[in-house]
Symmetry: C3
Subunit: 209 residues, 3 copies
């Protein structure tokens, strides 16, 4: 799980840096957007739950990992086009991994079941929302059903499995496998979704694009 | 007071969902913007005051109420045009109710009088600010005198009345009645305000509209 | 140091109010943006570190100082053009002063060295970031190397000096003098930087300007 967490924050930091590049940011901006994208979900969750200290404050090496990943993404940006499928796959794994980690924090603190699922979804989704706010865009997650819904469903499934007596490790594996498959399917479906709603989305976001 | 709180979060969630619809969001986005609009003010106040656990974390049914209200608003949106006056009235009641609730939290924590009034105004106003940030607009409250000022005045009056020996319940009723009346008057005044400053406001917000 | 803090929040509140004016806000909006610009950096730092109560909650006069400064800035805005150099100098002093104050909070809480430097930089930089988010702009700091980098370098230097046995007071003076000089140099360099990247920056921010 810890390895998966490291892969997830690296992938998220790279995705943040790539969005920042498209918006004309310099290297410092890329690093900051990368770090916020990778660590922002967990930070929002911990601030809302009053769960101190934050993970990147007790483990400051996480900050350096995300900065390194952002700089790497900036350096290899021209090649990342060819790796886009790999990238989407890692991002999908990261979403589910973040959700499971968030649920575990909720379980640890003994909050109610709906709040545990919310804590998971917030961890998975808020990093990308903060990235979009910093880049002055309407958060993508607000306009794309199948990202946040998958995080919510994955969190609910994870809780349900544990409730039925499945061990945390097995539950994590099942949720990762099923969540990942559905997310990859959703990316295909999204293509179609995009075609039908392109006109609405364009006018909806106005001059911000 | 509790009934009023439930009415207020329902009204705010519906107002958030309606703004989200105008910006081309899907159902998930509407629910999230609705929940953030309704619960965001209290969340910002509690995070700033270090007042844990947050209300929607100990009472997760609040989250479901706001999601239900957002979905309802999306379903009956075409009819809401005819109910706009009722809607504005509920929103005005909600603003004052949130402000009183925020002041009560400040009183409970024993902070100084100006901070109590601020805690009230933050509760009343921040939900709408977060809604506008998520929708990529300059928060309306920053461009409209008579929303936040009324929250501040209502909070100050509430404190003053209690200081003069009025019981909390009577003080709440007086503040609700007077704050509501002034807010409804302010809505009339706003029409005129809008006419005079329309040109400034349009250029001020640039391409974001 | 305390005098410097008061000068810094006054300068930051005035800068926030001036940006708000350019975006067509009314007096209430100016006061709010001014207060958020001045007190936002410390607030973000304290929320992330779980360092309660926030400074402006235990010392509510800070809120009144920033509101007064914002109103003053609005009143003397036409004359501020002639004082722009003085203003930039005060802002540069404020950046370094905030950074040192943030590092002191980190030292007090006993967090690790990288987190202390981050706490300093967050204090110096986040006020301006929140100002830009409220005004619906991509935070300036994400597009300008030499603001946040100077905060990070100043924090690192401050820690290094103390590690080498320099007293906090002497270290503060050395960091203030060197940080201020480099920032003023950076403002000159920025002119050149702007010329070279003007085209990129314009397209990068799209319709938001």
């Amino acid at each position: 799980m810890h390895t998966l967490y490291l892969i997830a924050i690296t992938a998220e930091a790279m995705s943040g840096a790539l969005v920042g590049m498209r918006r004309g940011m310099d290297r410092f901006g890329l690093c900051l957007v990368g770090a916020v994208t990778a660590l922002g979900g967990g930070t929002v969750r911990d601030v809302l739950l009053g769960h101190y200290p934050l993970s990147w404050i007790s483990h400051s090496n996480y900050v350096f990992i995300t900065i390194g990943a952002a700089l790497l993404a900036a350096a290899i940006a021209p090649w990342l086009r060819y790796l886009q499928k790999l990238f989407l796959a890692i991002d999908a794994l990261g979403l589910i991994a973040f959700t499971i980690i968030g649920c575990n924090v909720g379980l640890e603190l003994g909050v109610s079941a709906p709040v545990i699922v919310l804590a998971g979804a917030i961890t998975g989704v808020c990093g990308g929302m903060l990235r979009d706010l910093l880049c002055n865009e309407i958060p993508l997650v607000l306009r794309q059903d199948l990202y946040a819904s998958i995080a919510l469903a994955a969190g609910a499934l994870y809780l349900l499995l544990q409730h039925c007596g499945v061990t945390p490790d097995t539950a994590s594996l099942i949720v990762l496998a099923s969540g990942f498959s559905i997310r990859m399917l959703a990316i295909r479906l999204r293509w179609q979704f995009k075609v039908f709603s392109a006109a609405d989305t364009d006018t909806g976001t106005g001059g911000a694009h």
